[in-house]
């Protein structure tokens, strides 16, 4: 009996050792100084960056928050106990404090706040993702083109950028929404239109420093077209600093979206948008504090998550910031 136990244990040990060994070979393969293919070289580079990122605890915490947001948005239907828009019994279930039945309490329409927060994650994520997808390419394109060509093209593009930069973001977004009409889609569009100028600035500054580098001269000397140089050689170098900036801006974007929602110009009721939830909860702030506070905390936590993630990315990608 004991012997069998021993062999079992030994077997487990061997299995464990084997997995460790496999892990080790993977690691060695990834960290190899002599990659045998493009993919291996790329994965190795990615793995090194990932390992450096993992050393930053706060950044990993930020990533966990952002991943949590993504999971919450994906599985909102499963996670939320009730519908986010249809309330319960208005006579007995209005403005209930947090309890076992309603974790975050209920609002003035007798809707479960937890369900609304969970579904609100979808809206927040939608805003964040769409703004990033619209604003980042515009900023990159404008910035790299202006920086690479210089002269009149640079002047023209940068003056347009300056005009956009001259207005505070929320004000400009307000103007756009006022013109286009309130609604979540228009809010996203307005935020995207107002958030690309800083990215263009960053991309241009980066382009200016690398435009005259010898590796750019070298491809120029091989007869590469401007498009090839910008897309294949300059953009890959600008993209990391722009991504860092976009990540750090996410908090601001969420707040702007929430601000528009709060002012009634973003998501329209009954959509569970966090900013709008704060707005509708502020009437009961003194007596029923949770109605406005819980979505406020959600906004805060997600903003913090993006900020920490952005800081971590900067530490990994930007060698200039390293000590």
């Amino acid at each position: 009996m004991t012997m069998r136990n021993n062999t079992d244990a030994a077997g487990a040990d061997v299995a464990q050792a084997e997995t460790a060994c496999v892990n080790e070979t993977w690691r060695a393969w990834l960290l190899s100084d002599q990659p045998h293919s493009r993919t291996q070289a790329r994965l190795g580079c990615f793995y090194r960056t990932w390992a450096a990122f993992l050393e930053n605890r706060l950044a990993v915490f930020g990533l966990a928050i952002v991943l949590g947001l993504v999971l919450m948005a994906t599985f909102a239907d499963v996670l939320a106990p009730t519908s986010p828009v249809v309330g319960g019994d208005l006579r007995t279930e209005r403005l209930l404090p947090p309890s076992a039945a309603h974790w975050f309490g209920t609002d003035d329409q007798a809707r479960d706040l937890f369900s609304r927060i969970v579904h609100g994650a979808r809206l927040t994520l939608l805003v964040v993702a769409l703004v990033a997808l619209i604003a980042t390419p515009i900023g990159l394109l404008v910035g790299t083109v202006a920086g690479y060509f210089g002269g009149l093209i640079d002047q023209a593009l940068m003056r347009v950028t300056d005009i956009f930069l001259a207005f505070p973001r929320l004000i400009l977004a307000l103007a756009f929404v006022a013109a286009l009409g309130p609604g979540i889609e228009n809010a996203i569009l307005a935020i995207a239109i107002t958030s690309w100028p800083p990215y263009a600035r960053i991309a241009r500054a980066e382009t200016l420093t690398i435009r005259n580098a010898d590796y750019i001269n070298a491809v120029r000397l091989q007869g590469a077209s401007s498009l090839r140089i910008i897309w294949g050689h300059i953009v890959p170098l600008c993209i990391s600093s722009v991504i860092i900036r976009v990540t750090l801006d996410m908090a601001g974007i969420i707040l702007t979206a929430a601000g528009l929602g709060f002012l009634g110009l973003g998501a329209q009721p009954p959509l569970p948008e966090w900013g709008a939830m704060v707005a509708s909860g502020r009437r009961y702030l003194i007596d029923y504090w949770w109605v406005a506070t819980v979505p406020g905390i959600a906004i805060f936590v997600v903003s913090l998550g993006f900020n920490l993630l952005g800081d971590g990315l900067r530490d990994v990608f930007d060698p200039k910031a390293q000590k």
């Binding site: 002599q34 293919s37 070289a41 580098a213 001269n217 000397l221 091989q222 007869g223 590469a224």
Partner: protein, 280 residues
């Protein structure tokens, strides 16, 4: 003597006449190159020597088409160069840069760096060409998928040379190709360049501040100071200690090592024109 000169001129691979390069405009403009002219025969190695600010690298960059705002006449293989270069020029002329740490794209693997020229000129058979180019510069296939930060300075310079050679040019412009390398690595790279020249009949223009490197690699050289060529001579003349211009003499003395008594006689040629020369 005149006969050989005429002969060289008729077979000249590169001709530069009265080249001027000005950076900037208005009162802040700097006249970096002032009326430089020289001829390089096919298969020759020509050295451009000078100190920083002498305009030697600018001449090379103007020839390569990396500098705007030049005046004068430049011909390569009988064709007059305009303000813009066409694709055929890049297949004829390539360049190796000084700083091996700055001349390779930091986010591209060696393979990507070498496949770029093949893709631009649609040469095809990229795999074979890359393997061949790496072999030619003495790097094994294990270097193919490395990033520049995984290479030493000498290995990077070899990759830069491979990149220049992959288009099979006839002319290589070398801008201080070894000044950032350790002397033992410098010897390897110089030997490599000499071998490639022998094997492929390349024409070199070598820019350097190091007289010894130029004397080792070239047959003729021009000494530049403040944007002009002060003296042109053969390396044999240089070895005989025949330079006539005081600047060349001073450069030669300084290049032979430290000599306390010689230093006192040095004139500051960089600032000379305005002040001290006028005074003396």
């Amino acid at each position: 003597m005149t006969g050989t000169m005429a002969e060289t001129a008729s077979k000249a691979m590169i001709e530069v006449d009265d080249l001027h390069v000005t950076f900037g405009r208005g009162p802040r403009a700097t006249h970096a190159v002032r009326g430089v002219g020289f001829r390089v025969a096919a298969g020759e190695s020509y050295g451009l020597v000078g100190e920083s600010g002498s305009g030697k690298s600018t001449v090379l960059r103007a020839l390569a088409g990396l500098v705007e705002g030049w005046r004068g006449r430049m011909t390569v293989a009988g064709r007059v160069l305009g303000p813009r270069r066409e694709a055929a020029f890049y297949k004829l002329v390539q360049m190796v840069f000084q700083d091996p740490y700055g001349s390779l794209h930091p986010r591209h693997t060696v393979e990507r760096i070498l496949s770029e020229p093949v893709a631009i000129h649609r040469l095809g058979a990229a795999d074979r060409r890359i393997e061949q180019a790496l072999g030619d510069v003495g790097l094994g296939p294990q270097f193919r998928y490395r990033y520049p930060h995984q290479l030493s300075g000498g290995q990077r310079q070899r990759v830069a040379i491979a990149r220049a050679l992959i288009l099979e040019p006839k002319i290589l412009l070398l801008d201080e190709p070894t000044s950032a390398l350790d002397v033992s690595i410098q010897a390897e790279v110089l030997n490599l360049l000499a071998r490639l020249k022998r094997e492929r009949g390349l024409t070199y223009i070598l820019v350097s501040h190091n007289l010894a490197v130029v004397a080792h690699m070239c047959t003729r050289l021009a000494v530049m100071n403040r944007g002009t060529i002060v003296e042109e001579m053969t390396v044999a003349q240089l070895r005989r200690g025949a330079p006539r211009h005081p600047y060349t003499k001073q450069l030669l003395t300084a290049s032979r090592g430290y000599d306390r008594t010689a230093v006192d006689a040095f004139i500051d040629f960089a600032e000379a024109e305005a002040g001290s020369i006028a005074r003396t």
